[in-house]
Symmetry: C2
Subunit: 432 residues, 2 copies
């Protein structure tokens, strides 16, 4: 296999001068032949280049191979760089040797396929330029998120996936048979993060979370990647400040360092304006605003897409909606002094992209936490360890959870969350 | 809560001069009182410092609080730095204000607890200096692994956790009820990685994998973090070279940049000697060696702990054992030209720590792959998408999987793999 080594990435071939020798390898992206010439484009992980194979310029066998190399066939070609203004990128490769590595069957994906079919052949559709670019951008978004936490002295830890304790209510739990015992796939690593801070103070995890969501929306997956942060001694204001700094850092860094990639999705300037502070609206004020705008909404309701859209339609930066009604939020959120609200905030992405982060100060008092757990009728047996965190050196603390795919959807301005992850899992789909 | 902000990490307090004011916060690590003085040590995420609280130097209420602050109580203290050769680190804090944030109940962990009890209170045992240091080191090990891949142009992707296709045989699959359909928790993201390389060429994933291991050993978890790499156009030699460069980079970087932390586990020099090339032994030669050493072993057998131990007991660097019998390895590994072996390698850690990486060239020919899948009696319905990768532009490629906890166990010289992960999952344990 050594013969495949030492070739140039396609992006580098574009920096070569007219007449230079180049060997590239990759997959046939487009191809047609006409009058003894095969005009094709090849793609690799770095780009797409035009290649021309002329009868006579290569052996007869090689020319026949070039003719029968259907799209997605894998090839290695040698040739000379030629400047050509009509070619994408202004250069093409005039082929002197054409090696067909594998002749593809007729590729099943053509134009105008249904979304369901494209999910069936997701393993092939991932080769599309659109999804390839999404996955590159996702790589960088996750990379910059980690960079932000590194620079701020956070430790990354690994939470368990199989647990006894749900965190966000029983209706969306996936059940696992754990050696004959009933267990669940984690909905969140937050409760574990709250244990980690008693040793490491500032921590984050980036791991899968699971929700058996029965609704089909453009914002829900049953399996998603969850960035969860937790910090000892942080109150809800510190928490919001950390979130807006983090989101701004990722937006700015992606726009500055990966501007060409980002430009395939939206104008990079649109993310450059994302900087602290973000606008803040109390839940109570948001409720008034929604009613005033004529939407059906009662105090205590959660937001649906129309509400998120109404609040963020005209915004360029994400919006914090803080201090939600206690009864609408989970047991672990700290109560405000009025007993009716909690010290929390949801961060809504601009232009109706919806919630990307939920965060709060945590209830750190044993007695108040027990009261909330009783109200929520939780099975104490599975939460004894969590209560221990309030028995032995409890400290004020806050944290948040960010859905990676929701962040990617907003940052890249995608229509549907399923395109923010390579193999989306939604109701009735665990294949491929 | 603003009052808790702006204090010094304990590690910084040690750089202050005699007489300087300092405020630190954390948890009571040890405490005793004698003759109107409370002698305590406090820990935070950065270190441990001695504090003395003298009756009269603080208010009476504060002195009483200092007396009743049992270990693991959370506190904020103000005081003056004093040089004291008897104190750990040579400094102590003479307290002028003692604020008890939360008075802990009697901490349940005392000396000489059983391993089972320590697993029951894992959420508290994580606060021990030993586990705190392990988790810090794990953070850095994972950090340097990612750094290695970044520097070599790899993209990180996210594989699905819930799948239809097993990869390593049916006996260790966990079943999930996926909306009434039978699905499994992933054993490996490799097959998905093989799809990713057709667009991005060099990829890795770092995600949980699951094995319903019924055996209790010091090397197995039911849930572990799996670093899996895959690269288009790489043969098994490229694959082994990449592995030895990666493992060497992580060992050297941890020893050089986190030498103080590493020294709590082993001499940093022991990891500095880990550099390419690693010793290599064919499976056939290994089999001869094992027989010669008098161990019970037949050609075709897998290694057990005694075999791994015999082969690596005297080594300072990991050992590649390559080209295993075809019948002992999974269907996706490429056959050697003799038809009896596969083009693969297992990487064994020195001194009996066991296998840390398994890798191979992949079978990229459609017909040969189908033959192997039939031999293994796989249900083709769940692998059609994987076969597509050999129908449309198949390329030679290789990859490997590394168990993060096994790497951490070896690098930190831990006795048991469960201490390499915060909340270990083993047979009959999914709590806490």
């Amino acid at each position: 296999l050594k013969e495949y080594q030492g070739v140039s990435p396609i992006s580098k071939a574009f920096s070569l001068k007219e007449g230079a020798d180049a060997t590239v390898r990759g997959w046939v992206y487009r191809t047609r032949s006409s009058g003894g010439v095969v005009f094709a484009t090849l793609r690799d992980a770095t780009g797409v280049i035009q290649v021309t194979v002329k009868k006579g310029a290569v052996s007869d066998t090689q020319f026949k191979d070039a003719e029968r190399a259907l799209i997605e066939s894998s090839v290695v070609v040698e040739g000379k760089i030629k400047d050509d203004k009509r070619a994408p990128g202004g250069k093409e490769l005039a082929v002197t040797a054409f090696k067909l590595i594998h002749a593809a069957e007729v590729f099943p994906i053509t134009r105008d396929q249904s979304p369901e079919f494209l999910l069936d052949v997701r393993h092939l559709w991932l080769r599309s330029q659109h999804l390839t670019n999404v996955m590159k951008a996702r790589h960088w978004i996750v990379h910059y998120l980690r960079e932000f936490f590194d620079e701020n002295g956070f430790y990354e830890l690994a939470p368990p996936m199989i647990t006894k304790a749900g965190c966000e209510g029983g209706s969306t739990l996936f059940e696992v048979d754990y050696f004959g015992e009933k267990a669940f796939l984690t909905q969140s690593g937050q409760l574990y993060n709250e244990a980690f801070i008693t040793a490491l103070e500032r921590v984050f995890i980036l791991a899968p979370s699971f929700r058996a969501e029965k609704s089909r929306t453009t914002k829900h997956l049953t399996e998603y990647w969850h960035l969860e942060e937790e910090a000892a001694w942080f109150d809800n204001d510190d928490n919001m400040r950390l979130q807006e700094e983090m989101v701004s850092f990722v937006c700015q860094t992606l726009a500055r360092k990966q501007g060409g990639l980002l430009a395939k999705f939206r104008k990079p300037e649109e993310l450059l304006v994302v900087e602290p502070p973000f606008p803040r609206l109390s839940y109570d004020d948001a409720a008034k605003k929604l009613k005033k705008a004529g939407l059906k909404f009662e105090w205590g309701d959660d937001f649906g897409s129309p509400h998120e859209d109404a609040l963020t339609r005209d915004l360029d930066k994400p919006l914090f909606v803080y201090n939600w009604p206690r009864r609408s939020k989970p047991f672990y959120m700290a109560e405000a002094s009025d007993g009716k609200h909690v010290l929390n905030a949801d961060l809504l992405a601009p232009r109706g992209h919806g919630e990307i982060i939920g965060g709060s100060e945590r209830e750190w008092d044993y007695a108040r936490l027990v009261k909330r757990m009783k109200e929520d009728k939780l099975d104490f047996k599975n939460y004894e360890w969590y209560l221990d965190l309030r028995r032995y050196g409890s400290v004020p603390h806050s944290g948040f959870g960010l859905g990676i795919e929701r962040l990617v959807k907003w940052m890249l301005n995608l229509e549907h969350i399923r395109d923010a992850v390579p193999f989306p899992r939604v109701i009735n789909r665990a294949y491929p």
